[in-house]
């Protein structure tokens, strides 16, 4: 797949040619949750789940959003689909600002923007047959048509995701996790959306099934021109499906670029650590083992994030300035993609453990 366009007019001033205008542009998205304590339920603290996140997604392309659990990936997904209220920032989808849209006015938008959740077991209503699950969005938007027409649509959708039309009469609990995720995808595709938000769609599946589902997603993308926001914590999966990658740490994007840029020229120490942790199946490159960066410590409490750079408490390169100034997401090295680090380097350098 060609990766010609740079997605981030909002990230820096890079002015390479773009193939088209973005389908989705997120700018300075911030989501905080109050932590209530005591009998009266007063807001005792604020968790910054997502802070100043900006990115763009172009039609027919995939942005992979990577990070550890608790990094704010899923919160980002829920904010973009407006299943959570946005604290501040802007979400422009097909030229329309969604961040302050009322729930009612959001409903017509959902036709073009659907979401698939991580857990294939709890994301399907156990009381509904597969047919009812897939038909419901069609009915909501008056696209179901007559009985014969509607059933045909459901059967086509099932076949599109590699299931049988005869599965329509069965209930979700009769299927395996992979099959259930296919049902979720069929449900999400029912309205022929332009953007699919995939919130860890394969994380709950067996590895062999993961490959089937990611391949299915790629095929569907090619066939239907879908754009994906693909959220995952598994870099190998993201590498396989994405055109662009944004790496998140504790609610912020720390590095952002095309797949090739991020995988071959990572400049943020966190990205470098993540990449070095990917197991290498090639024994002739065994020397890579010596280069693994093992991060020490835990992800800090998001209710009380470190000052300055949020990664500094686990970073081997941290200097006093890291505690004082939060690094901007800029292309300091001039290599074509930005990272949020005061000391970006093409190679990890420093102390390895």
């Amino acid at each position: 797949m060609e990766r010609s366009s740079y997605p981030s007019e909002v990230v820096n001033g890079d002015s390479r040619p773009r193939s088209s205008s973005p389908l989705l542009t997120v700018k300075d998205l911030t989501k905080t949750f109050p932590v209530r304590k005591g009998v009266l339920g007063r807001a005792a603290a604020v968790i910054q789940a997502v802070t100043d996140v900006s990115f763009s997604i172009f039609p027919g392309q995939t942005l992979g959003l990577v990070g550890e659990s608790g990094s704010g990936k899923s919160t980002t997904a829920l904010c973009i689909t407006r299943l959570l209220e946005v604290t501040s920032g802007s979400i422009v989808f097909e030229g329309q600002e969604l961040a302050d849209l009322s729930r009612r006015n959001m409903r017509p938008i959902r036709r073009n923007m659907q979401i698939v959740f991580q857990d294939p077991y709890s994301s399907l209503d156990p009381r509904m047959t597969v047919k009812e699950i897939i038909a419901e969005p069609l009915r909501v938007y008056g696209a179901y048509g007559g009985r014969g027409q509607g059933e045909r649509k459901v059967h086509e959708l099932l076949e599109k995701v590699g299931m049988n039309a005869s599965d329509a009469a069965r209930f979700p609990h009769e299927f395996s996790g992979g099959q259930r995720q296919r049902i979720s995808i069929a449900r999400a595709l029912a309205l022929e959306p332009r953007l699919l938000v995939l919130d860890e769609p394969v994380s709950a599946l067996d590895v062999s099934v993961q490959a089937q589902v990611t391949n299915l997603l790629r095929d569907l993308q090619d066939a239907m021109g879908l754009a994906y926001l693909f959220i995952a914590h598994d870099l190998a999966v993201v590498h396989h499906v994405s055109d662009w990658i944004a790496v998140m740490y504790l609610g912020r994007i720390v590095e952002y670029g095309s797949v090739d840029q991020v995988f071959s020229e990572p400049t943020h120490p966190y990205t470098q650590a993540l990449l070095s942790a990917i197991p290498n199946a090639d024994p002739t490159k065994a020397d890579d083992l010596d280069e693994k960066i093992i991060l020490s410590g835990e992800v800090p409490d998001p209710a009380d994030p470190p000052s300055g750079c949020r990664f500094r408490t686990r970073c081997w390169k941290a200097e006093p300035i890291c505690a004082e100034v939060s690094p901007e997401l800029v292309d300091t090295l001039g290599i074509g993609h930005p990272s949020a680090c005061h000391f970006p380097e093409l190679h990890a350098g420093g102390v390895h453990q």
């Binding site: 017509p108 036709r111 959740f117 709890s122 209503d125 156990p126 009381r127 419901e136 209930f171 609990h173």
Partner: protein, 312 residues
């Protein structure tokens, strides 16, 4: 499924026999004896003996029980001591007033409890939720008999709006004015239980991902609540209603006695006072069979409410 139903029904029979042994023993161990109901204050031993013979009480208890059991298995629960009719006829005559009362009470409690629980869950931790919780707690703490007497005092004695007792009708249906207070007491007493169950099961189902899925599909919040959250959340309520049927008779004894309602509860009370052994036995077996069959029906209902449940 058929196998499951047959299996469950087969379990009912030995349970009922065991229960009848227990009740029979309890009755005969209880102080006093039934014949005193027939005798004046000054009776001779011969008179007492004659009554005992007439009632079949002079036989050894074991033989009495076996005679009763033999007849009961063929559907004959014998003659009552004090009502001048067969046990079956007496129970059937008293059945309808109680069923009427219970059905209305159940309707009232479900109609109030389900919306209350749902609203509590949706507006969790709001003032409305706290008000409902407080009202619920108040209802839980209020004994039935006390609530019944307060109602009677207010609406019958002071205001004179509602009749204090009886069904107010000789026909099939009790007079609406007479139904109000007994139905209110029975119905409202169940509301706190039901509302709490609905609230907590709604909170569970509202936190499931498929609620988010439904929102992502573009459904209106009201439809998400009724079609996705409530349909699963109703299952625990059905369980609790099934279990509370076991309390039906005990609850109805108090209410029917206070409101002089000619139903099974009043019959049970009278039969115990008069030591009418056949009625006590018959009524106990009848109630127990009802509770067991009702719980079987509830189990079968589960499969319709939640398709994940299957019996083999």
């Amino acid at each position: 499924m058929t196998r499951f139903i047959v299996h469950r029904i087969a379990q009912i029979i030995p349970l009922l026999i065991l229960l009848s042994v227990f009740i029979f023993t309890m009755m005969h161990l209880a102080p006093g004896s039934p014949e005193s109901f027939y005798l004046t204050d000054h009776y001779t031993d011969e008179q007492a003996e004659a009554v005992r013979e007439q009632l079949g009480l002079n036989e050894p208890p074991v033989r009495q029980y076996l005679t009763w059991l033999g007849a009961a298995i063929s559907g004959d629960f014998g003659q009552t001591f004090t009502y001048g009719a067969t046990v079956t006829d007496v129970i059937l005559a008293r059945l309808w007033p109680t069923v009427q009362l219970q059905l209305l009470a159940l309707t009232v409690s479900v109609v109030i409890a389900v919306p209350a629980g749902v609203i509590s869950a949706i507006r969790r931790n709001s003032k409305l939720d706290h008000s409902i919780t407080t009202a619920t707690l108040f209802g839980l703490s209020m004994p039935d008999f006390w609530f019944a007497l307060l109602l009677m005092l207010t609406f019958s004695v002071h205001l004179g709006w509602l009749p204090a007792f009886g069904t107010g009708s000789d026909g099939l249906f009790a007079a609406p004015a007479n139904l109000v207070m007994p139905v209110a007491v029975l119905g409202l007493s169940a509301v706190p239980w039901y509302a709490r169950v609905v609230r907590s099961s709604m909170l569970d189902s509202l936190s499931e991902d498929y609620i988010l899925t439904a929102a992502a599909k573009g459904l209106k919040p009201s439809r998400i609540t009724t079609h996705h959250a409530l349909r699963i959340a109703i299952l625990p309520l059905v369980t609790v209603i099934g279990l509370s049927m076991a309390r039906v008779l005990s609850g109805v004894i108090v209410v029917e006695t206070i409101f002089v309602w000619p139903g099974l509860g009043q019959l049970a009370w009278e039969a115990v006072i008069r030591q009418d052994y056949p009625v006590i036995l018959g009524l106990t077996i009848f109630t127990a069979a009802f509770v067991m069959i009702f719980s079987l029906i509830v189990d079968i209902l589960y499969t319709y409410i939640d398709p994940r449940i299957r019996y083999v």
